[in-house]
C-alpha cells in the first residue's frame, strides 16, 4: 500500500502524481505488488490516514510504502509507530530514501535525522 501527502512535505510541494510515481517505481524495483495509495488529509499535522493504516491488522497488505521519511517529521510519538508495525505485522518502506524502517532503533534514527536537519536549517537563518 502506498501513502502520500496532500500537503507540503518538509516545506516542499511534491505533486501527488510524482509521489505516486516514486512509490510505484520503488515497488517495481523491489518486486512488490502495489495497491492504490492512500492520501493523507491536508490539515497540518494530520496523520489520521496513516494511523488508520498502521494501527490495526490488515489482510489486504503487509507493507506500507511512504514517499519519504520526512513525512513523519511532525508525528508526535515515533515509538508508537514501530510498536504498532510490530504488533500488526506491517513493514514500512521509504521510497525516496530507499530504506526500510522496522524497529525501535529506527525511531531513534528518525529523531536524530530530524534534529540534525532542523539544526542545520536554523543556522542558515
Amino acid at each position: 500500500m502506498g501513502y502520500i501527502f496532500s500537503r507540503e512535505i518538509d516545506n516542499n510541494i511534491i505533486p501527488q502524481k510524482v509521489q505516486n510515481l516514486v512509490i510505484r517505481d520503488y515497488a517495481q524495483r523491489n518486486k512488490m505488488n502495489l495497491l492504490l495509495s492512500s492520501t493523507e488529509y491536508k490539515m497540518k499535522n494530520s496523520y489520521l490516514m496513516f494511523d488508520s493504516l498502521v494501527n490495526k491488522k490488515n489482510t489486504k497488505f503487509s507493507g506500507l510504502i511512504i514517499y519519504s521519511l520526512f513525512m513523519l517529521k511532525e508525528y508526535k510519538d515515533l515509538k508508537k509507530i514501530f510498536n504498532n508495525l510490530k504488533k500488526n505485522n506491517i513493514r514500512l518502506f521509504c521510497a525516496l530514501e530507499e530504506i526500510e524502517l522496522n524497529n525501535l532503533n529506527d525511531s531513534k534514527y528518525l529523531k536524530d535525522t530530524f534534529f540534525i536537519n532542523r539544526n542545520n536549517k536554523n543556522e542558515k537563518k
Binding site: 516542499n12 510541494i13 511534491i14 505533486p15 510524482v18 510515481l21 516514486v22 517505481d25 525516496l96
Partner: protein, 131 residues
C-alpha cells in the same frame, strides 16, 4: 529498428521551479517514465549547475547534434530573465530542438510556440499569487 526512434536527453534542475523542488533522481524517474511511454531513446540526463541564474548546461544541450528532444520537468525551468531568455531563443533558433515539459504536458516544436507558451505560463504564475 532503433534508428527510427527520436533521441531524447533529460535536463535536471537542482533549484526550485515554481515552488517545487524535486531531487534529481526523482526527475530522472519521471523523464525515464515519459520516454518509455512515448517510445523515445533516452540518453544520460544532464545536471544543471546549482547556481542562481545559471543555465549553462541547458545552453550546452541546445548545441548537441545527436539530441532531438530535450525533456524536462517544467517550462518554469527555462531562463526567467529577459536577457538570458533572449540568448536562449537565439540559440534555439540556430539549433532547432524540440522540448517536452512533463508537468505542463507540453510538446514544443518551434520557437514561436515556445514563446507563446512561456507568456501564457508566466501569466498563470502571476495569477496564482492572487487566487
Amino acid at each position: 529498428m532503433n534508428s527510427s526512434k527520436k533521441i531524447a536527453q533529460g535536463y535536471l534542475f537542482l533549484k526550485p521551479f515554481n515552488r517545487v523542488y524535486l531531487p534529481t533522481n526523482i526527475q530522472n524517474i519521471i523523464i525515464k517514465n515519459y520516454c518509455e511511454q512515448n517510445d523515445l531513446l533516452l540518453k544520460l540526463s544532464v545536471n544543471e549547475h546549482n547556481i542562481k541564474n545559471c543555465w549553462m548546461e541547458l545552453f550546452s544541450l541546445l548545441k548537441k547534434k545527436d539530441t532531438d528532444i530535450i525533456v524536462m520537468m517544467s517550462i518554469y525551468m527555462l531562463p526567467d530573465n529577459k536577457k538570458d531568455f533572449i540568448k536562449f531563443c537565439k540559440s534555439l533558433k540556430k539549433n532547432e530542438k524540440h522540448f517536452v515539459f512533463v508537468f505542463e504536458n507540453l510538446k514544443i516544436k518551434n520557437i514561436n510556440e515556445l514563446k507563446n507558451k512561456m507568456n501564457k505560463f508566466k501569466l498563470f504564475k502571476e495569477l496564482n499569487k492572487f487566487i
